[in-house]
């Protein structure tokens, strides 16, 4: 049997359903019904999404967004150990507490490298199409077992703790997902083509340096809009990179590609659209300013982008 990503969809669905139920029965949550509805719908889309009519899924996504957008998703009062108990636990466990935490990345890496080609009964053990995610899911389960064994807590307590963290992040959990949907819709509706059309029609590309600058800055700007460098690359490479940099100025395609993608990543560092990298960590780290991570990244991203323009200009004809 192959362990596939669908198994982990079910696991996440069950986790989200537990979050919904725990919120529904928690009187310390000021919006417990709408909160439970929000997480319950998300759970449903994980458990049964592929069997539902696509239009129904789309409608439920909009309901979720409205619940989140109008303040319907709140948290219950978190229950943690009191400081005294926690100090005792730290004294008892010492550095052993790092073992389960490090098991997670360790199992993930072993799964993605050593177990990659292992087969059971002629079938691959881990879904090759989603190898890293499936390995990471295994790592998360192994780490949870290790943590329960070490702390003598039950897996249910683990679910309660997961709920505390999900509650704290609130709607930021679904933002990357909804933005990914928007990104796909953008490409379906031809936003990429329109942007490429504008850049190539209205900007003069008659000097090599200007063309390089347009290409790199365009990559970054387009990524800022789409939130994803993978969406920007085909557009800018197709619009400027291949016809102008390679076609007119004889650039080395490998240099054009490598530095172009890195310019797109500079854009990723500067946009709230890349929510999983920029907005979710702000929520995870309890930062009051949701753009704090972006602010911390701009002083690195802009100089790297400028450096990229010069690197591409000087390296492309080597």
């Amino acid at each position: 049997m192959t362990l596939t990503i669908e198994h982990f969809y079910i696991l996440v669905g069950l986790l989200l359903a537990s979050v919904a139920i725990m919120n529904l029965v928690d009187r310390s949550n000021p919006r417990r019904v709408t909160t439970a509805l929000f997480w319950g719908l998300y759970a449903l889309l994980y458990l049964a999404g592929e069997r539902m009519a696509p239009a129904a899924v789309g409608a439920l996504m909009i309901v979720m967004a409205l619940l989140a957008g109008f303040g319907g998703v709140k948290a219950g009062a978190p229950r943690t150990l009191d400081p005294e108990q926690r100090r005792a636990s730290v004294a008892r466990l010492g550095n052993r507490i790092f073992i389960p935490a490090l098991l997670l990345p360790l199992v993930t890496v072993i799964g993605a490298t050593v177990l990659k080609d292992v087969q059971i009964g002629g079938l691959p053990m881990l879904d090759p199409a989603h190898l890293t995610l499936v390995s990471m899911g295994c790592g998360a389960v192994v780490a949870l077992i290790g943590a329960c064994w070490l702390t003598r807590a039950t897996p249910l307590q683990g679910v309660r703790e997961a709920r505390r963290l999900v509650d704290a992040m609130s709607w930021a959990v679904v933002l990357p997902h909804i933005l990914a949907v928007l990104g796909l819709l953008f490409s379906e509706a031809g936003v990429g083509k329109a942007v490429a059309h504008l850049t190539t029609t209205y900007i003069g590309l008659d000097s090599a340096f200007v063309a390089v600058a347009v290409y790199c800055i365009g990559m970054a700007l387009f990524t800022i809009v789409m939130g994803n460098g993978f969406a920007a690359f085909p557009v800018m490479a197709g619009g400027v990179g291949i016809p102008v940099l390679i076609g007119v100025y004889g650039a080395n395609p490998a240099v054009m590609a490598a530095i172009g993608m890195f310019s797109a990543y500079c854009g990723t560092l500067m946009t709230p659209m890349a929510a999983n990298f920029n907005i979710v960590p702000a929520a995870l780290l309890d930062l009051p300013d949701k753009n704090a991570v972006i602010r911390a990244q701009i002083p690195s991203a802009l100089p790297i982008l400028i450096a990229n323009i010069f690197l591409l200009y000087f390296l492309m004809n080597l």
Binding site: A65, L66, P105, T151, I178, V195
Partner: protein, 234 residues
């Protein structure tokens, strides 16, 4: 050049930019942009809902990386993972927030360059270990920190993870971005060795390390300034 490029879908982009500038709830902004883009592209309502639904089901893999580790990490936090990480780093006399993050930047970028991208990450490393350690290092050096400084150190910890990951992973040959670039160039009839794409990423990878490490050194000076200003005010 065909003149049939439809510029109307760009209205969706306008909605996104305006929404973020007005600081509206980002989930609402995203859904509003979906609606405007669909209307601008002349999609019937049912077709739009179907597109949204199909895309939503297809991208369910994205949140897994955030949601799966939460139970294990949350449980370990309950029993003092962050406190232990802090007490370990507080014993290292030469540790400062900036130096610690430079070490993490190096480790993150070099392991990502070897394809080990899952060794870091915000839920698994930054929240439970890196950010508390960076805070503890600054605390061991300066005593208690103003809230603003704490938030700044946490944001820089998250930024360091991102920068290390982005500029490391792309010089690993088997990484998805390299495959994507290779496929796109091939479709245009340009034959490139994927290894060359990876190798030509190295100058930027080194530049990114130097620039961000420089900013992390400045973070130490900034913490020093903010803490003494806070002490002077008290």
């Amino acid at each position: 050049m065909q003149s049939a490029v439809n510029l109307w879908p760009l209205l969706g982009v306008v909605v996104v930019v305006a929404g973020f500038l007005l600081r509206a709830n980002p989930v609402l902004v995203a859904v509003a942009a979906c609606g405007v883009t669909g209307v601008a592209a002349a999609m019937p309502v049912m077709a739009l809902l179907e597109s949204l639904g199909t895309a939503f089901v297809k991208t369910r893999n994205l949140p897994l990386i955030l949601l799966l580790p939460l139970a294990a990490i949350g449980l370990l936090e309950r029993f003092g993972l962050r406190e232990q990480a802090q007490s370990v780093i507080a014993k290292v006399r030469s540790a400062t927030a900036g130096r610690l993050l430079i070490v993490y930047l190096f480790a993150r970028e070099s392991t990502a360059a070897m394809g080990l991208t899952s060794l870091g990450g915000h839920p698994t490393m930054v929240r439970p270990l890196v950010a508390p350690m960076a805070e503890a290092a600054a605390e061991a050096q300066h005593g208690s920190l103003p809230e603003r400084v704490r938030h700044r150190i946490r944001a820089m910890s998250a930024a360091t993870d991102n920068i290390g990951l982005f500029f490391g992973e792309d010089i690993f040959v088997a990484f998805g971005a390299i495959v994507l670039m290779h496929t796109i160039l091939q479709a245009e009839g340009i034959e490139v060795n994927p290894l060359h794409i990876a190798l030509w990423g190295i100058p930027t990878a080194i530049t990114a390390f130097v620039i961000h490490a420089w900013n992390l050194r400045r973070l130490d000076a900034e913490i020093e300034r903010e803490v003494s200003a806070a002490k002077g005010a008290a």
